[in-house]
Structures are given as structure tokens and as C-alpha cells.
């Protein structure tokens, strides 16, 4: 499917955001990641659990069942599973076959986010997490506000590329965060190991009302925007605002402030995507500014959501769309290549049995 080749759907071996820490509690929550329905909850010991949301017996969604202590009992015939996905009770018989169970997905809770690994479980490695400090989730100089989650009816890659070509903010976000000299300013794209960076500095830019209200910036500034993408699904937009010509960094004279906006993009289905977001800042850490910021970005997201869903429908009408690119697409095209290569590699390597039979209900060994 555009923009990837046939047979390339998702990078599976990587950490995706499954939810904010606050989403995990006593209640059973269902979300679909990479076409697989997942039931999410937190055990009494505080561990975040992610199981296939489909009873191994007759495919009834476990999320419609009941928590019994740290187990989940299916609401249809009462099959019961523990937090490892093992079937521990079948009400109509004494014996529970040892192999009975549902798939359990590895999770990690870091930086206020529960991360999930949808691929080969043995490959799940904490070292593959995105840089939480860069994302603004663990940087002590920043105050973080969790924005929540958008669920958009468009393929995930449209969001990845939206975030890697910020020239769009001059047009799509004119009136909110856009200023008239964004698109024409030069961008430097760098491919780091495991990360793609696109950086643009606008000298003598005018502060928008948003910057003024959020950070107290008035008049002219030098604004450097770094867009970082940690495949497969984590982005941050870092905005550094300093006095014109000062080249100031944190703590130095002329430093006005910084934003780090995290964008955690998790495919739900081929045409639906979760978009978890937070916004961190270095100053004006009061609650009113937080409320203002979150509200302002909800307006910006409304613009993006309408646009990307329209783009999605346009692509669905013409599956053979032949695109034309420009220089500003460099970072997006590099990200696209990187994801396509990862998908191709995953498709080439023989996948272990329990990954191949993801649709099976047998518990992984």
C-alpha cells in the first residue's frame, strides 16, 4: 500500500506506544495495534499487561469479560487467563490443557508511556526504545503535559511524513502555529544511527500569539526546529527560541525557551492510526499555561486530522497514484526507505512459529 510496496504493512520488531501510563488501570481496555486486537490492564502489582483480545475458545473479546484478581475471565463461557496469557480455568471441566492460552505481548513502562512489542517476543529489547530524554518525557528541565490520543482514519505513514516535512505548517496551520516564512527556509536532513533529523532555523522570525502566551516571547526571535524520528513510531518536534543572533542554549543569556512535543504514532489498522502526544516546555510551568498549550495544540491537531483523513480518502480512490516529490520531502523519503527496508528484512527472515501464527490462539512457548 502507498507509499510502501506490496506486502509491506508494518514494522513489527520495535516498540510502539500502547498508551499513556494513566490509561492502564483496573478496567479492561481494548485497542487494536497492527491489526491485532489487544486487551490492556494493570495488575495489582502495577504491571501493565497486554494480551490478545480474543478468547482462545470461541474468539469472544476478552475485553468484554471480567477482572478476577489479576486474571481475566471471558464473559461468554468463563475461560480464565492470567497476566501471562495462560489459561488457568475452564468452568465446564477440571483439566486445563497446558498449551491453552492467548498471546501475551511484551510491554515496558518508561517515561509515562506503556510501550508494546508486536513482533518476535524474543527480540524485544529495552535498548530499542526511542530516546526518552530527546522526546521530552524524562528531561528534568522540562515540564510535561500529556495531551492524550487522537485516533485518525488514515494510514500511519501519512502522519510520519507530515511530521518530517514541517513546510506544511505555513499552509495547513496558518492562523495557529504557521508563519509565512517557514516553507522557504532551508532544512538540513541528517540520518543518524536509528534516528532521522530534519533541522530548520528561521532567523528573525516573529513570535506567534502561541509562543508569546506560552513562553512570554514578544517580538523577534531565532527559531530552530528539530524534527527527530525514532523508527518505527516515535517523533519529537523540538523548538528552540532564542534572541536574534545570540546562539543561546539552555541557561545562557538570550535563551527564551524550548518546546519538546512528542508524537507517538502506532498503527491500528491499514487505515487507522493512534496518535499519542505530549508537550513539554522549559518555562511558564503553571497550570493555566498548561491548559492553554493543550488547548492550542488540540486546535492544531484538528487541522491535521481533517487534512490527513482527506488525503487518505484521496489515496484510496486512486491506489495507483504516482506522486511527485520536492526537496522538502528529503527527510520523509529517507524515513520511508528506512521503514521499507526494515519491513522487507522482517519479511525475508523466516519468522518463528508463534510470530507467524499470530492469529492462532496457542500461547507462545
Amino acid at each position: 500500500m502507498y507509499p510502501f510496496g506490496p506486502g509491506l504493512d508494518y514494522v513489527r520488531n520495535g516498540w510502539y506506544a500502547a498508551g499513556w501510563s494513566g490509561d492502564f488501570g483496573e478496567a479492561l481496555l481494548t485497542r487494536t495495534f497492527l491489526d491485532e486486537p489487544v486487551v490492556l490492564y494493570r495488575t495489582s502489582a502495577g504491571e501493565a499487561v497486554a494480551l490478545a483480545d480474543r478468547c482462545a475458545h470461541r474468539a469472544y473479546p476478552l475485553s468484554l469479560g471480567t477482572r478476577l484478581g489479576d486474571t481475566v475471565r471471558c464473559g461468554y463461557h468463563g475461560f480464565t487467563y492470567d497476566g501471562h496469557g495462560r489459561c488457568v480455568a475452564i468452568p465446564s471441566q477440571q483439566h486445563v490443557p497446558a498449551a491453552y492460552g492467548v498471546r501475551r505481548y511484551p510491554t515496558l513502562e518508561r517515561g509515562g508511556v506503556v510501550w508494546i512489542w508486536m513482533g518476535e517476543p524474543n527480540a524485544a529489547d529495552e535498548a530499542a526504545l526511542p530516546d526518552l530524554h530527546e522526546l521530552g518525557l524524562t528531561d528534568p528541565n522540562f515540564h510535561v503535559d500529556v495531551g492524550g490520543v487522537n485516533t485518525w482514519r488514515n494510514r500511519y505513514q501519512l502522519i510520519n511524513e507530515n511530521l518530517l516535512d514541517l513546510s506544511h505548517i505555513e499552509f495547513l496551520h496558518l492562523g495557529t502555529i504557521g508563519t509565512p516564512n517557514v516553507a522557504a527556509s532551508p532544512v538540513v536532513t541528517t540520518v543518524h544511527p536509528h534516528m532521522i533529523e530534519a533541522t530548520r532555523t528561521i532567523h528573525g522570525d516573529q513570535a506567534t500569539p502561541l509562543h508569546k502566551r506560552a513562553l512570554g516571547i514578544d517580538g523577534s526571535m531565532d527559531r530552530t526546529t528539530r524534527s527527530l524520528f525514532f523508527p518505527p513510531g516515535a517523533h519529537v518536534t523540538q523548538v528552540l527560541m532564542v534572541a536574534p543572533g545570540s546562539n543561546a542554549r539552555f541557561g545562557q543569556p538570550g535563551y527564551f525557551g524550548e518546546f519538546k512535543q512528542a508524537h507517538l504514532i502506532t498503527p491500528s489498522t491499514a487505515i487507522e492510526t493512534y496518535y499519542f502526544w505530549s508537550i513539554a516546555r522549559t518555562s511558564h510551568k503553571d497550570a493555566q499555561t498548561s491548559a492553554f498549550m493543550l488547548d492550542a495544540f488540540r486546535t492544531v491537531f484538528a487541522q491535521d486530522g481533517v487534512a490527513l483523513e482527506a488525503q487518505e480518502r484521496s489515496l484510496q480512490r486512486d491506489p495507483h497514484f504516482h506522486e511527485l516529490s520536492c526537496k522538502a520531502d528529503e527527510a520523509a523519503l529517507k524515513a520511508r526507505r528506512l521503514l521499507a527496508d526494515a519491513m522487507t528484512a522482517e519479511n525475508t527472515v523466516p519468522r518463528p512459529l508463534h510470530a507467524v501464527s499470530a492469529s492462532s490462539s496457542r500461547r507462545p512457548q
Copy 2:
């Protein structure tokens, strides 16, 4: 499609409920059975008629036309058909070719139900009807209340199996008809000629508020539940309630009463099913008890409908679902095998021309 193999959709040679007798009248009623739209009405002589609901001329639904005496006139160009499906008038010309017509489906009205035969018309045989006495429709000791029809967005076999594994009532219907010792009580499954039976007796069960109100039972009872399935689409749930240890039958001391709940399951499409239901009982035959019973079971059906539609969506998301079974599935698995064998046999035997060309509008000879 799950749980049947590829190419197995419906058993066609068998009687399905087309409607309750009261559904058939002067008005044209349309229902879709086994993917075929059917127009239903009753002639002035009282005969229930079922014709293909698609004018042979340009496919306009006949149900949008007009009754003219015992004929139906198409609302588009006026082609008119009698109760045998023969075209008897074409307004724009004098001559009506003898072969012009629409398919007429055999019907039988028995036990307050109009039964329809969607398969080979020559094979339609009254002897193939389910046992109406067992269904509680013609048993003089019982008072019957017609519940109506549910239309659910799920494949029919989910309902057949729901009715053959009553262990689910402990979980899905807890709070209505479920009691906590249902699932663990043993079930005896018997395959009779043309019928599958699953029987479970619970000794010393507590009467639920429903049993108390409907039959005046208070305190403890021995409860025997017989689930009978007459393929392809008729079920009855018979509940015999007697004094503990009495082994009483109708008219004997210790006999509290019986229910016979008929469930007539007719596939509409691959993922939609009609569920006609009635409930018969041996005592408390007053109108208030009828109203109470019908209302109570509407609540129970709401639980089943929500659950089965959720199960359907879960199966649609994973067409390769690999199920795991338990002992309580014995009757359901036997019914599944029986239906699959019947479908395979129908697919193997060369079907007569007019059955093969069910989609044709030529009148069967």
C-alpha cells in the same frame, strides 16, 4: 467461512422458519433468506406465498409493488405475477411468454409458523419438519407465547452453538437466568436420527426470580434442561422443574412445571440471521405471566445479541482464527459436523438446473 470449510454456506434442503403466522397478511413483506430476497404475503384463500422478491424484468423488488387480488404487480413497469410466480400480465404488450415468471418457494404453515424450503423444490417434504410437539408449538399441555423475531448481525452458526452449550448462561446471563452451578454440571449429549440432544440435570438448584415469578417455584428444585436441535434451524430448550429427588413427570406429585422455548434460526446472509422465538409453559397461563415472561426473555436476548455480534466482529477481524475446544462443546461440534456433512452432500450431488440458477428469474418448471 468459520466454523465451516470453504464453499460451505448453507444447508438448503430443509425447512426454515420464514415467519410467524401473524406476519403473513394482505401487505407485502420482504425478508432475505440464504442470501435470496423473498416477498411474503397471504392469499385471500389464506395460503402463505413466498416468491423471489425481484421482478424478472428489471430486478425491481416486488415488495415495493402492489397487491391486485392474489397477484403482485411490480411498481416499476407493471409486470404482474400470481401466487405461483407465473407472470400473468405485461402492460405494454398483449402476449405473455409462458416461461416468464419468478421463483416460487414451497411453504408449509404448521404450529403457528410458516416454514420455507429454499432448496430443491421437488425434495420439499413435510416429513422433514422439526418435531412441533417437542418445540412446544403444538403440545396441548402448554400455553405458547410468540416472542417475535430478533435480527442479529452474526453468522447463524454462532446462534446454533450458543444454544447447544448452555454453560454460557452462568456467565453471559448471570443476573437474569444464570445460576452459579450451571457450567460445572455434567452434560449428556446424544445424537438421535435427525436430532441432537444435550441434557443436564442440576440437583437442588435454586429457583431464580424468573422461575419463581413464572411458575410459582420457591426454594430448591431439581432442574433438567434438554437442548434439542433439529437441523437445519430449529431448537428447543426444555426446562423441567421438579421437587428435589422426586423424579416427577407431568401430572405427578412434585412436578412444578415446564418451559419449552423454541428458537427458530434462519440464515439471512453470511453475517445476518433471523431468530424467531416463542416460549411455552405448563402453568400460570394468565396474560400477566405471559407479559412478564416475554419481557424477561427480551432482556436475556439483548445479552446474547450483543455478545454474538461482538463474537462475529472478532471472527471477521481474524478469518484464520484457530479455536480451542472443551468438553462442553461436544453437542455444538456434533451439530457442526452434521451441518457440514449435509452441505458437502448438497454440493456434491449435481443440483437440478433451476436450483443452480437460483439467481435466474425463469420460473422453475
Copy 3:
């Protein structure tokens, strides 16, 4: 797809109505013709422009963008196109490659209608327009009222055939324009070069309330109805009403009046169609009569729309429908043959590159 063979979807080389002249203005309007989304507007010089409604860059709909003078700027990243479809600006770079652009569709504005040519651009020829005088759009003896556009969820050919077999008005439009002797009156069908005609005269017909109110006709009349079809998508229904036996023509004694109702049928998708309509008449040219006529025909169209959408759903349920025809179908079957032959011819001739790659965004040379 019914009623055409596999691979036959649309006649492409022909003029279809894209809209009424009044639909074209400053604002960007989007419509989908023959499965292709098109953005429509009028330049400051008054020219009607039709471009592919999909930015060549990332498929964003241009209709969600902005008019800048006579150009359209994409609302996502700012790519800008002139009225010829040429890309004239890419905000993030200086250079615009010469080949960048979107497809421009030939248009012609005649008779108050903007006509569009969806096929091979070099074949677009004004001589292929339907006869605007016959359609009632340019006949000086007639007053024209534009009715607007209906958008119906049915394949276009159902409308073409509806208009060529007016025997339906006795049944579908009984109570509005139908009279009880329409279907039985004989029809003469003639295939002219580039036009099919079906004519029916009813002698001594009763004027309906509509005829009475619209043209002041009372009592008996001879009514001649000519249905003309100019492939691929223009119809007119001409109704000549004269004193019984007078054989009167315009200006002669016994001439009551005439209607010319234009029906311009443009396929949107395989199952959705635009139906542009106007109604012209020779007398009672006052505004109240116009309002009465338009309102009366809106009621008639409501009957047609409901019927054809029901017919469409019936056909979708049975893709193998085997129809039976009658004498009144002669004109419709001839029109069907003519369109099928044109489609087959278009499929056989190798199409030029830019027509084959209609889904490409490269500008036709």
C-alpha cells in the same frame, strides 16, 4: 457490470455535463466523474476550469485549497497550479520542474451547461455535443428553468433506460404525471445517426392536473412524447400537446404547448450518478408557473430516485441476474448496445499514454 459485459464501465470519449453554468464561480467545487475526482472553478476571464482534484505532490484534494487569482494553491504544502494544470509554484524551492502538473480536462460551456470530456483530450470535438436546440436549452420559443442536480446511488445505465421506457410512468408516477393508458400505447423506436428516438402518441388523453396548471390545458388532447437519447449522457423528453385530431404544430391552430425536459446523466462512480435536469416550455412563462413546474418535477424525481436506488440494491445482491425483456424495452436495449459498442471500441484501440495513466499526476503533454 450489469447490463454491460465485464470490463465495460464508461464511454469516455464524449461530452458529459459537469455542471450548470451557475455552479461555476470563485469557489472551488469538487465532483467525481467516471471515478475521477475533479475540481471545478471559473477564472477571472470567465473560463470554466476542470482539473484533477488531487495534488501531484501527495494526493491532497486541491478543492480543499485556496484560489490565488486564477491559480489554485494546495492547502497542505502549497503547490500551486494554473488553469491549465501546470504547477507554477513549490514554496519550499525555487525551481519547478516543467513536467509537474495535474491533468486538465477539456471543457465547453454551451446552452447554460459546462460540458466535460473525460476521455482522450485530442479527440474532444465540439461537433460531438448533443443537439442543444432539441434539448430545449437554446430553442428561442422555449422558456428554460434549471432544476439543478440529483445525486443518486445507482449505476448510470438504470437512468438511461428509465428515460427510454416511459411505460413506467403509468405505474411509478401514478398520481403525479402518470395516466392509465401510457403503457399500452404503441411506441415507435428509431435509431438516427448519434441519436435514439422513441415516440409515442396517445390520442384523446386526459390532461393531468400538472398539464392543466402548467399550460392551461383542460379536457382532452392528443399527446405525443418523444424521448431522444444523445449518447453518452444527454436525454430530452419532448411532450407535444395539441387538440384532438388537429395534428397541430407550433403556431398552428389547436397547438396547446410543448415541454422539453433535458436530462443530463453523468456517471460519478460505478454506483453513483449525477442527474442534471431542466424543464423548458412554450407558454405560461411567468415565475409562478416556473416554481410550480420545478416543484412538481422534484416530486416526480423523488419517485424515480427511490425506485432506481432500490433497483440498484437488488442488482448488487444478485450480480448474475438474468433479465427478461418485453417490447417496450426496444429503445433501451438499442441504447445499451450502442454504449457497449462504444466502450468495446475504446477498450480495443490502444489508448494514448496520458489517457492510460489517468491516475498519474503528470501533466498531459
